[in-house]
Symmetry: C2
Subunit: 208 residues, 2 copies
């Protein structure tokens, strides 16, 4: 495998996997980059270039074997494994996250939910019992946690990220509305509907 | 205002606004692109280039007036106005969205929640009463809705997007796990934690 795949390519791989899974369920066996492009809003040339980082998957004139390519992408992304996650913060948002079964189904099980508010520790959420945030490092080690999910207020988020890094977690799914600067080894993805809406408002505003 | 601001610049403007609001609350009055860059993980040169699309905001040697620049960005983004939204789908995810007060606070009020499941129509969620999805067009017109929020299963999402476009909505905040191809006039933002996690798993997988 190539060493330096551009981050933007890696971020597109899950979209390829989702489109291929959709096609497989629709009983398709083969697809060309020309037919895959419009499904994803990506040019056929870009698709061929993206996939070429990882090997030779397509056949000239026939296209990609959907089942094979999906298997390869899943393996490249590590989706053939489980990646245990810890949830930090069990307010309203944290509770919605904890009871969403999509994470578990997709190989990202929540194995612990932590809080610093004593009134919430010990409560059941989904199939988890809320534990004390103070035990973060211990829980990360015991449960082999690989990803931290942040659902605390913005004011607390920076400290939580620091604590996660100290506990050995370098992958963060962040729901707190913050802009952060992190050490380059830490990967963070922001789930931020307000920022998404604000960039759409720009276009709405231009039409007035 | 320039006509053709790159989409990637527009998507960064909300992050600038958030950082500037943070600085304002911390009683800062002026900031240079050199100090703002590390807050956002963007180079100072990129910040100056991004902002230059909209006018001359900075002073050589002193930097940006935070309050003024924030006001200008809010106006450029249309954040000085309200953008009413309709929620489609009031399952578990839809309920979490409907009871999240961040939308309202940020100028994106949910003014209606729609469902096609008869058993859910008439129920109260947050301060809304769930209405019949059949009345989408009428409700969009009556309530001057500008943005559709999709929280239906993936299988139903494509049809909902079509219906929203037919009802005159061209801005979509999509929580359904789909890859879509839309007419270029339609702006869509995907809130998709699974895709975010999958692109992080790639990096975790490389470390094993």
């Amino acid at each position: 495998m190539e060493q330096s795949v551009p981050e933007v390519v890696i971020r597109r791989l899950p979209l390829y996997a989702r489109a291929l899974a959709f096609l497989l369920e629709a009983d398709r066996a083969v697809i060309s980059s020309f037919d895959l492009g419009p499904m994803l809003g990506i040019t056929p040339a870009q698709i061929r270039k993206d996939l070429s980082y990882f090997g030779e998957f397509g056949k000239q004139g026939t296209g990609y074997d959907i089942s094979f390519l999906l298997g390869e992408i899943n393996q490249i992304l590590g989706l053939d494994k489980n990646w245990p996650m810890v949830l930090i913060g069990v307010g309203k948002l944290g509770q919605a996250i904890a009871t969403y079964d999509g994470f578990q189904n997709q190989g990202f099980p929540l194995v612990a939910a932590l809080e610093s508010d004593p009134s919430k520790i010990g409560q059941s959420i989904g199939n988890l019992v809320v534990q004390d945030y103070k035990d973060l490092s211990k829980i990360v080690e015991e449960k082999n946690v690989k990803i931290g999910v942040i659902a605390v207020p913005a004011t607390a988020a920076h400290q939580v990220i620091k604590d996660l890094v100290d506990a050995g977690i370098e992958s963060v799914l962040n729901y707190a509305p913050i802009a952060v600067n992190l050490p380059p080894t830490v990967k963070i993805r922001h789930i931020d509907p307000i920022v998404a809406l604000q960039s759409m408002a720009y276009h709405l505003n231009k039409r007035i």
